[in-house]
Symmetry: C2
Subunit: 340 residues, 2 copies
DNA sequence: CTGTTAGCGCGTTCAA
DNA sequence: TTGAACGCGCTAACAG
């Protein structure tokens, strides 16, 4: 099975040049005479030689890959992001390593492991909890934080969640809603906090309150949305509209309500966050705040590869614009305006 | 920025042993005396030394990672599979490289690129089109095919799609349906073919036909499901039930119908394939054929790492069981039976 | 423009 | 059990 593959030495021998010249002919063709380059190329053709990236990386003191640390790979939210990431990373000549931080009992240890072992030339971190000062101090490779919040030391690519939440709330208010609830993400999550903060401030700006009863604690999952629906149904004084911090929860919320015989958006309006693929195909189609996930991945990869090339550990953060996608899940109340 | 990190030589000097002993103390502790091992470990502690995996891999003639080639990373269908893959691969001490074969104009070239460049010790292939004899001949590392069909040379982990389709069709028949349509996957896809074949044979076994008009060509996407719905609506003679080759298409189909004012499952029953997360939260909740995706990933990873360890290029294929998940999207017609 | 030399950091012989 | 020496395959530095 272990079949010997051609090395740079074989090429050198066949082409009757030194290994250094072979190396140059392949890496920096400009530095080599046309004729010798041809001899080398012919030998390469003949033997099917390919450079051994491990040896090259050892010599160049790099790894040739970028590591994406995802809190939960099973979450389809990351599909688009990873797709964007993969495209840019491949185009820049890196491999894309992916690891799930939740697989491990202690995610922080896992991150340390990766850093210490120099398995990657750069890190894309989708888990803000890990982005602390200690990590910043220890890391010898650039790190970019995507989607999440962490220590401001880290450059990041993310959307303005406060603004997104405000967009959602203002839309509901424009449509005539005055009693508005909110389904949150998991406790301790920065997205949860910022979207809740945006909700609160936008409501306050309109002179409205967010009663404790109308804050439904979720965890971004479908099931937690369904659980929120059950709590909504249990209430005597219900909000006429609910802003969900994720489309998944909105979807669970809507489903549970419909299964219980409620009609939407007649009985309650719903607005989500993310604009996942399925949202437009639900009944009613979900009005939501769109977050361009593929673009987030692309930008994170681009910035990271730039940092690696520049041998810097920092760069500017970038904010990706969110926008309101108006569909059918928000009802216009008597006094409200039309969409837009 | 380029800060020098401790090497095995530093440890050797500090612990006053040879580098060979340090290497042994770390890789095969049993071969080293307790006392010297302690000295080494202390030096390791003191310096924060970590082995350089690139150097180790060069020396061991391996790469330390496994490559997953996915036809479309943006497709959330792969989320769960990758999650299972990542968990097992990490536990076995490998890194998980991921690449999208569709990013490239010519996927086959890309695969060749990866193989020739020995970037991985093994390959998980989710794209059956690439699994041809040529690939089998050229590859020096084990390859496992997941979810898809390809040349029988390759070991694979997949579900029985013919059986899954038959399960769906038989369920519809049990529920009293006699006119049954099918939404297919993309042309040329093996899943498309096998599920269509299963559909046909199960119908035939019940003495039923599959008229050309009732074969709706899709591509597994939400939008193609919606397009199928439009064609369904255009027909004078409509099937009372439709088996969709993917849940995504079923979801698009249902959504488009509902938006057009149709009622489900009263007017048409729908059964899907995959059991994606959202299926249970739709209205009506989607009856479907469940495909344990996480398990597929886990098994593929396990089998691949075993092949690598055994230095073999082949192993037995494995079939993962599918099952019918009975929800609300299939209506029982007059003559039909209850679920199960 | 090309060749020589010297490692990158590690694991693995072969002796002792 | 340990150490010396070598080489995995490649590229960077320095001459020429």
């Amino acid at each position: 099975m272990r079949q010997k593959t051609a090395t740079i030495q074989d090429i050198a021998r066949i082409a009757k040049v030194s290994t250094a010249t072979v190396s140059r002919a392949l890496s920096t063709p400009g530095q080599v005479t046309e004729s010798t380059r041809e001899r080398v190329m012919q030998a390469v053709q003949q033997t099917g030689y390919q450079v051994n990236p491990t040896a090259r990386n050892l010599r160049r003191r790099r790894t040739g890959s970028i590591l994406a640390l995802v809190p939960n790979l099973a979450n389809p939210f990351f599909s688009q992001i990873l797709s964007g990431l993969a495209a840019v990373v491949a185009a820049e000549g890196y491999g894309l390593l992916i690891a799930d931080t939740q697989t491990d009992p202690d995610p922080a240890t896992r991150v340390s492991f990766y850093l210490d072992n120099r398995v990657a030339d750069g890190l894309v971190l989708f888990d803000g909890r890990l982005a602390d000062k200690r990590l910043a101090r220890r890391s010898r490779v650039p790190i970019i934080l995507a989607c999440e919040w962490g220590d401001p030391l880290f450059p990041s690519v993310r959307v303005n969640n406060v603004e997104g939440a405000a967009l959602a709330i203002r839309h509901l208010i424009e449509r005539g809603h005055r009693s508005i609830g909110h389904i949150t993400g998991p406790r301790g999550n920065v997205l949860t906090d910022t979207r809740l903060a945006g909700t609160r401030s936008a409501l306050r700006a309109a002179g409205l309150e967010l009663p404790t009863d109308w804050v439904f604690h979720g965890d971004f999952s479908l099931d937690s949305g369904a659980a929120a629906a059950r709590r909504w149904m249990d209430q005597a004084d219900r909000p006429t509209a609910v802003f969900s911090a994720s489309d998944e929860m909105a979807c669970g919320f809507i489903g549970a309500l419909q299964h219980a015989g409620h009609t939407l958006p007649a009985e309650v309006s719903v607005i989500g966050f993310d604009d996942i693929e399925v949202s437009g195909h639900l009944t009613p189609a979900l009005t939501t705040i769109s977050q361009p996930r593929r673009r987030i991945g692309e930008r994170a990869a681009a910035k990271l590869t730039q940092m690696i090339a520049a041998e810097t550990l920092t760069c500017d953060s970038e904010e990706i614009a969110v926008e309101l996608v108006c569909r059918e899940s928000v009802r216009t109340l008597a006094s409200g305006l039309r969409c837009r």
